[in-house]
Structures are given as structure tokens and as C-alpha cells.
């Protein structure tokens, strides 16, 4: 009889990387929440100015603010770990030389920053 070593319930607390892994998996809940929140916004806009104002007031409530901040933290964690992974997946060669992994990650973070800056600019100009 072989003995099957059980996986303890709290196995993921044993290593930092395990914790990060579980948090990253959990971040999908945060993404789902943002989708729901966005859909609520769209519905409110569709229903008219009154409903929109109601939605804004509801979103400004401390509880919803906290939920959104926590969700934002999860989504940022997801994005950062995803970009850090990029150099593992992408092996780019330029003139026979492998581009250093740091450069690949830096490129991703740079692109993220540029896109965010453009979005922020559009929002500011539109307002």
C-alpha cells in the first residue's frame, strides 16, 4: 500500500510564491466585479440622468469605494505578475543576440504606462 501524501488545506501559505499564485487566481473575482460594476454603469446611463446620479451616489459610498480599491489592487497585482512573466514566454533575438529579459519586461511596462497615459489624457480632455 502506497501512502498518498495529503495536500494540507493551508498549503498555499507555505511559500511567498504560493501566496502570490493564489492571490493571482483570486484576482479573477476582482475582474468579474469590475465587469459587473461597468455593466451597472451602462444600465444607469441608459435609464437616464436620475438613475446615473443614483449610481454615482451609490458608487461613492464608503463600502463600494473600499471594494473598488481592493479590486483595483488585485487587478494591478494581476497585471504586474503578468508582465513579469512576459520575458519567460517571449524570447526575442535581434541580430543573433537574445534581448535581455529585463528589456522585454521593461517594454511591456513601458507600453502599459503609455496606454494608461493616453487613456488618462483622453479622460481629462473629454471632461
Amino acid at each position: 500500500m502506497t501512502y498518498h501524501q495529503p495536500v494540507p488545506l493551508l498549503w498555499w501559505t507555505r511559500r511567498r510564491s504560493y501566496v502570490v499564485f493564489v492571490l493571482r487566481e483570486l484576482s479573477s473575482v476582482a475582474v468579474a466585479w469590475f465587469v459587473v460594476h461597468f455593466l451597472l454603469l451602462v444600465t444607469a446611463v441608459h435609464r437616464g440622468p436620475g438613475a446615473y446620479q443614483e449610481f454615482l451616489d451609490w458608487s461613492a459610498r464608503p463600502l463600494i469605494l473600499v471594494v473598488n480599491l481592493v479590486a483595483l489592487a488585485f487587478v494591478v497585482l494581476h497585471a504586474v505578475t503578468w508582465f513579469n512573466l512576459a520575458p519567460k514566454a517571449l524570447v526575442v533575438r535581434v541580430q543573433g543576440q537574445q534581448v535581455p529579459p529585463r528589456m522585454i519586461a521593461a517594454g511591456h511596462f513601458g507600453a502599459w504606462f503609455v496606454v494608461s497615459a493616453i487613456v488618462a489624457w483622453v479622460l481629462v480632455v473629454m471632461l
Partner: protein, 242 residues
């Protein structure tokens, strides 16, 4: 430096117990002694019934992998002095069924290895005997690290996905597939049906512990993430299917 150190060794005797227990042994603490030397001292001088695997004592055969103080390690390359004053807990590799004491069942891994066709597979069925496959040093560099694997299974032991999903093909098998995918004389898409599946690369959530655990610098996590890109390109892009 004290001259002895305590080993807490997991014992499992299936004929008399239903779960492993820890047994303590006092072994000499010598500067040049690895954990494996401590175990061999136990076997030779204290308790001949202790079972464990080892062969080369130089990080080549891959048979001495165990869990040392919670981390997967080659016991021939892990030194007792690094754990002084002790105690040092020695347990079987996690995620594998235990046969006896520190000996784990490796059948699952041995069945997975050939699934990835770890040999040169070519579309043109010309016999390998008649041709010479030339490769440049750069082409060799592209896959060389993946060929350094010694099948020690430390990466499987470190991988929580494998612990939860035993069907997962796993780090070393996928790294081995990449070793042949990236060799210039081979047809990479031949392994798509095994690798681009739920139990293949898509089971991996990139914890990265396999790469940290690997004593040979193989970077299986990198191999898997790289193949994810290949698999996505081949299955999603219209011109990827060739």
C-alpha cells in the same frame, strides 16, 4: 561547531503503519557531509531498515531527491552544515505516493515522459541513419539548458498544480518536449496534441517554483510559458496551423 546533528527522518512501513511518522537519529556533523551522507550513516550504523534511493552522489543520477526542511532538494548536494545546529527534517518528495520511508512511486512521471515524444520527430520520414543534421552553436544554445534535466522530479514536488491536478503533464516533461521542439532537425507541431491541452501547458498557472527547485538550471517554467505562446499562435492564428 557541535559534532553531531539530529536528523528527523520520515518513516513509513506499510506493513505496520497507516501513515508516516518521524524518527530521530543523531549523526556526525562533518563539514563535507551532505544530507545523503547522514542518511547513509543511519543505514550503516544505526538502523539498517531505513529505505531511500541514491546512486551517483554527484547530482547526476537524479535519484536522491527528498524534502529537506520543507524544500525539495537533491540530498547529495545539500549539506548538513547549512542546517546546523539542526534538527534537519528529511521527508519523501511531496506530491508523490510513498512506497516506504523516503522512497516514492515514480510511475506517473515515467509514463508522462514518453508522451511528449522525447526524440527527433520529422515530417519527411527520411531515416535518421542516412542524413546528418547540422546545427549552429546558436541553435544548440536555444535548447541546451532543457537537455540538462536529470529527471530528479524536484520540480513536480515543488509544483502546487501537480499536487492538486495529478494529470498535469508537469514541468520536466514539458521542458523535455521543448528540448526537442527547439532542435533544428525536428517538427515542433508534432507535440501540439499533447502539450496544448488542459493537462498540458494550459494547466500551468506560472507559480515558478519548478524553476527555483531545479538543481540543473533547466527553467521548466520558462519552457512552459514559451510553449504557451507557440500553442496559442498555432491554435488561434489562421496561418498558425501548418
Amino acid at each position: 561547531m557541535p559534532d553531531t546533528i539530529t536528523l528527523q527522518v520520515a518513516r513509513y512501513r506499510p506493513e505496520s503503519e497507516s501513515a508516516p511518522t518521524l524518527q530521530e537519529y543523531e549523526v556526525p556533523l562533518r563539514e563535507e557531509w551532505a544530507v545523503l551522507d547522514g542518511l547513509n550513516y543511519v543505514k550503516d550504523h544505526l538502523d539498517g531498515t531505513l529505505s531511500f534511493r541514491w546512486s551517483c552522489r554527484m547530482g547526476i543520477c537524479g535519484s536522491c531527491g527528498m524534502t529537506v526542511n520543507g524544500d525539495p532538494a537533491l540530498t547529495c548536494g545539500t549539506f548538513l552544515t547549512d542546517y546546523a545546529p539542526g534538527p534537519v527534517r528529511v521527508e519523501p518528495l511531496a506530491n508523490f505516493p510513498v512506497i516506504r520511508d523516503l522512497v516514492v512511486e515514480i510511475d506517473d512521471f515515467l509514463h508522462k515522459l514518453p508522451e511528449v515524444k522525447p526524440w527527433l520527430v520529422r515530417d519527411d520520414d527520411g531515416g535518421v541513419d542516412d542524413v546528418e543534421f547540422l546545427q549552429t552553436p546558436e541553435q544548440l544554445d536555444a535548447y541546451k539548458q532543457y537537455s540538462m534535466c536529470i529527471n530528479c522530479m524536484l520540480c513536480y514536488s515543488a509544483c502546487p498544480v501537480y499536487g492538486i491536478e495529478p494529470d498535469f503533464l508537469g514541468p520536466a516533461a514539458i521542458a523535455l518536449a521543448q528540448r526537442y521542439n527547439l532542435a533544428p532537425a525536428t517538427s515542433a507541431h508534432q507535440r501540439l496534441d499533447v502539450l496544448a491541452t488542459d493537462a498540458g501547458v494550459w494547466a500551468c498557472t506560472y507559480v515558478g517554483e519548478c524553476t527555483r527547485a531545479c538543481p540543473k538550471g533547466v527553467d521548466p517554467a520558462g519552457a512552459i510559458q514559451r510553449y504557451k505562446l507557440t500553442a496559442a499562435a498555432r491554435t488561434l492564428l489562421p496561418w498558425g496551423k501548418r
